[in-house]
Symmetry: C2
Subunit: 195 residues, 2 copies
């Protein structure tokens, strides 16, 4: 069997992440090139690109802990509220999302830019974090469908929510439009939760 990750591959993986984190922290994500990361880590560019097809994936991996924490928080909250009405759980999920964007927008903007400036524009929509959040939203919308005559479309609604909650648009709301985080939460609840 050749199914386990080879030791050298595993070592390089850690080396890449450590090197990238250091360089990003020192110079900023946008100022660091993939070539520079490979050079600094002392590996070939092919090695780097085999593991991370582009900078966005690398950023994504660096964000993994943060993203996992969000997903766990959300899952825990939903579990705790599992007896509560759908609307309440939906609202809690929206709150989590807004809190997350609010706390991490500085980190999320480079990540968002990298994904969105890809030639393959669907890259972001295949990222683990998007898929998981869309999934969580969809199932709540779906749950809400039962017994309703005019059905929302879960896929459409969750996609729309996540599109509108991009970090750039969020900062604009807090900046020029002058909303506070709590106001934004309220508006999201009002718009997307049909009470």
């Amino acid at each position: 069997m050749r199914c386990r990750e080879r030791a050298d591959a595993s070592d390089n993986r850690k080396l890449i992440l450590q090197t990238a984190k250091t360089l990003f922290d020192t110079y900023g994500v946008n100022e660091v090139s993939m070539h520079q990361i490979a050079k600094t880590a002392g590996i070939g560019q092919g090695t780097l690109y085999r593991r991370y097809a582009h900078k966005g994936e690398l950023c994504s991996d660096l964000m993994e802990d943060t993203a996992n924490a969000l997903v766990e928080d959300i899952d825990a909250t939903l579990e705790k509220l599992k007896e509560a009405p759908t609307e309440e759980r939906f609202g809690a999920l929206l709150d989590h999302l807004v809190d997350f964007i609010d706390a991490k927008s500085q980190l999320l903007i480079p990540l968002h830019n990298v994904y969105m400036s890809e030639k393959d524009t669907t890259a972001f929509f295949r990222s683990p974090i998007y898929l998981h959040l869309k999934n969580a939203l969809s199932s709540l919308v779906e749950e809400r469908l039962r017994g309703e005559d005019e059905a929302d479309c879960p896929a459409f609604l969750s996609h729309t929510i996540l599109c509108s909650l991009n970090p750039v648009g969020y900062l604009q709301m807090k900046g020029d439009l002058g909303f506070t985080k709590e106001e934004i939460k309220q508006h999201y609840r009002k718009l997307f939760i049909r009470a």
Copy 2:
């Protein structure tokens, strides 16, 4: 005085636009490189880049007529419907937006990318087209407020609509999510127009 545009510059400007339009129409925006445009037009790359700092600006110039037409169309439609119920006019505006994004998504994506990857992330939200559309949406939402007890916030709602209608997200809806343009229009109406 040396203030007027030189004749050769003016000629090249037209030549660039014509060449770019032809190439974009033939091969698609993403498949055409700036180098290729310059080569085909028979001019140097420096000439091309002096006039358009990047592909986004070129797209922007190519879109100018189209964007003006959109704004005029919308204004004309709203004028024609000025006696109609607010909901009907709101719906017509959403339809216009979706038709526009649908028709021009290829050109809008480079434009969107350029705006969004700016250091100044608010650049897009100060662009004429965003401001005009947000304005039109806001005034319709505001109009709808009268006589309602639970008020929508015009600024928030119109910002959210425009964020969610970005060309990348739109293409994702039509691609992986499999919606047709008409379905998308319906979903937008259902979500944002409280009948």
